[in-house]
């Protein structure tokens, strides 16, 4: 089996069962990245750290992190001191509890990683995967990665185990925190029925491949054109939107199909 590079190796435990795993990236940044260039001579731009007092360049080892406690007053911490907050340098993800995988709203998931079976861990990996799939559960644990501790959820995804780093509840705005003004009267049954029909006509199976990043493609095209010494034509201008009556708009939307 072809192997992809792993970014972390360790062990998941649940009860007394240890599952050696490897962590792989599941997502990638597909954006087109530029570096800063000096227009005059095409040379790269280098960023220099300059001391605000001395006006001289500061070597990396002399840089501390300052946390502003009140206006202009900083508590200075070295990089090592900040790293001390990461927690134990543990190679362990303890699944101390399990929850219904469907109960977790996707807003809690931050980044996704894939897990592969680690050394001598194939049987245990398959057991955890199959047991999570059968019980429709996700395991919840903590993971120390890159000097930071994350809350993680582990669940089956596409035949492998996926690990999601999670957002904490206090980092999320909930629907209850959002004010939505109420209309003077509720939508009528006829409107709901009509809108439901419109939803039906626009219903499709989710096929992520149907959507591509058109902007990124245009940036790539621009780069190719520039590499050949050409220019690109200017884009078209968007038409203005107007707003017809709700029922009339629903009817007109359906009539056009």
């Amino acid at each position: 089996m072809g192997m992809v590079r792993s970014i972390w190796n360790g062990t998941i435990t649940f009860g007394l069962i240890a599952v050696p795993i490897k962590v792989h990236s599941a997502t990638e940044d597909t954006g087109v990245h530029f570096h800063q260039v000096h227009a005059k001579d095409g040379a790269q731009i280098k960023q220099k750290r300059i001391c605000g007092k001395e006006g001289k360049e500061v070597p990396y080892k002399e840089v501390a992190k300052g946390y502003e406690v009140k206006g202009g007053e900083f508590v200075l911490l070295s990089k090592e001191e900040i790293d001390a907050a990461a927690g134990e340098r543990s190679r362990l993800i303890e699944l101390e509890e399990f929850v219904s995988a469907l109960a977790i709203d996707p807003v809690f998931y931050a980044r996704t990683y894939y897990l592969g079976a680690g050394e001598k861990g194939a049987d245990a990996y398959r057991l955890l995967h199959d047991a999570l799939a059968k019980s429709e559960r996700a395991g919840i644990g903590r993971w120390v990665f890159h000097n930071r501790e994350y809350l993680v959820a582990i669940r089956p995804l596409g035949g492998v185990l996926a690990l999601h780093t999670m957002r904490f509840a206090d980092e999320l705005v909930g629907p209850d925190d959002v004010e939505v003004p109420s209309p003077s009267r509720k939508p009528t049954a006829a409107e709901i029925k009509m809108a439901g029909k419109l939803v039906d006509t626009l219903h499709a199976a989710f096929a992520p491949g149907d959507f591509s990043d058109a902007y990124r493609e245009r940036v790539r095209e621009l780069i190719r054109a520039k590499a050949r010494g050409e220019d690109l034509p200017a884009p078209e201008v968007a038409p203005a939107d107007d707003q017809p009556e709700l029922m009339a708009a629903l009817e007109a939307s359906l009539a056009g199909r």
């Binding site: 990638e28 900083f74 900040i82 395991g139 939505v180």
Partner: protein, 285 residues
């Protein structure tokens, strides 16, 4: 309520619902500034030309793209602006999908959409859309342009509010085929093993109550800042031991179950708090 990041309309057939976009994320991270340790002065980042080693004013900076063959293509701000997506003020719903079919791996940044005006027509159209999507468990897929970038977004109803989440494109999600998921037949658990593992999972199952989980990292970082402020020394914690895989899976499963059911419910956790972690931190006054 949070400041709106974008206003426009959610367009659905010929119906336009005027909406404002607000972030569903509250930044709780501690932010640090780079400081010169020696004199406590803040560090400024200046841009220098690598060739001339002189500081370069912002207006003289442009964008370089390095091609696979190592050559560099220069692209100006004007050229990038010319290909920016049309600045439409609409989120065009292209299709409705079953929410259950969209794996959370595609979800990126969460937002909410709120009616952009108290106008009765606007709030009624908003209510209509939340009710229809809520009743059918369907979500809308559409695109919109924000800050010169085009996003694919999924819009769904959450407790009467329209939740919008930007989405990853398909090529931003890696295939799983290169991951070693131990799919060979020899690794398949026996029915007995599988049932025992499910029993362990069920024993440890609890309700999903997100408020129970605290960001221990953030708390410790705040504690480190407070201790440093009082002049204390901070030392790094030591590494923990890693258990090795059990040679006999069935034995490990049986012992786990015996421990859980035999010694009452003492092994059932009340939350993944890891209080023992902070206790292990070596502290020096």
């Amino acid at each position: 309520m949070a400041r709106s990041l974008w206003t426009g309309s959610l367009s659905f057939g010929l119906v336009n619902v005027p909406v404002a976009l607000i972030s569903a994320i509250r930044d709780q991270d501690l932010h640090f500034t780079q400081i010169h340790e020696k004199d406590g002065a803040p560090i400024e980042v200046h841009r220098f030309c690598e060739k001339e080693d002189v500081e370069v004013p912002y207006e003289e900076i442009t964008h370089g793209y390095e091609c696979d063959d190592g050559t560099q293509v220069i692209v100006s701000d004007l050229e990038l602006e010319a290909i920016e997506p049309r600045r439409t003020r609409t989120i065009d719903i292209e299709q409705f999908v079953d929410l259950a079919d969209v794996d959370p791996i595609y979800f990126d940044h969460p937002y909410f959409l709120v009616p952009a005006s108290d106008d009765d027509g606007a709030t009624r159209a908003y209510r209509l859309l939340t009710e229809v999507m809520g009743q059918t468990d369907r979500a809308a897929l559409g695109r919109f342009v924000m800050r010169a970038k085009e996003y694919l977004a999924i819009v769904r109803a959450r407790d009467g509010v329209l939740a919008l989440t930007t989405m990853l494109f398909a090529d931003g999600v890696r295939p799983t085929k290169d991951v070693d998921a131990a799919t060979q037949k020899s690794h398949k658990p026996t029915t007995k093993q599988l049932n025992a593992a499910v029993a362990v999972i069920e024993e440890l199952t609890t309700d999903w109550e997100p408020e129970r989980y605290q960001d221990e990292y953030r708390k410790r970082l705040r504690a480190v800042v407070n201790r440093k402020r009082k002049g204390e020394t901070i030392k790094s914690p030591t590494a923990a031991e890693t258990p090795s895989p059990a040679p006999d899976l069935m034995d490990a499963l049986e012992r786990t179950l015996a421990e859980m059911t035999g010694v009452g419910t003492s092994t059932k956790p009340t939350g993944v708090t890891k209080s023992k972690t902070s206790a292990k931190h070596k502290q020096e006054a």
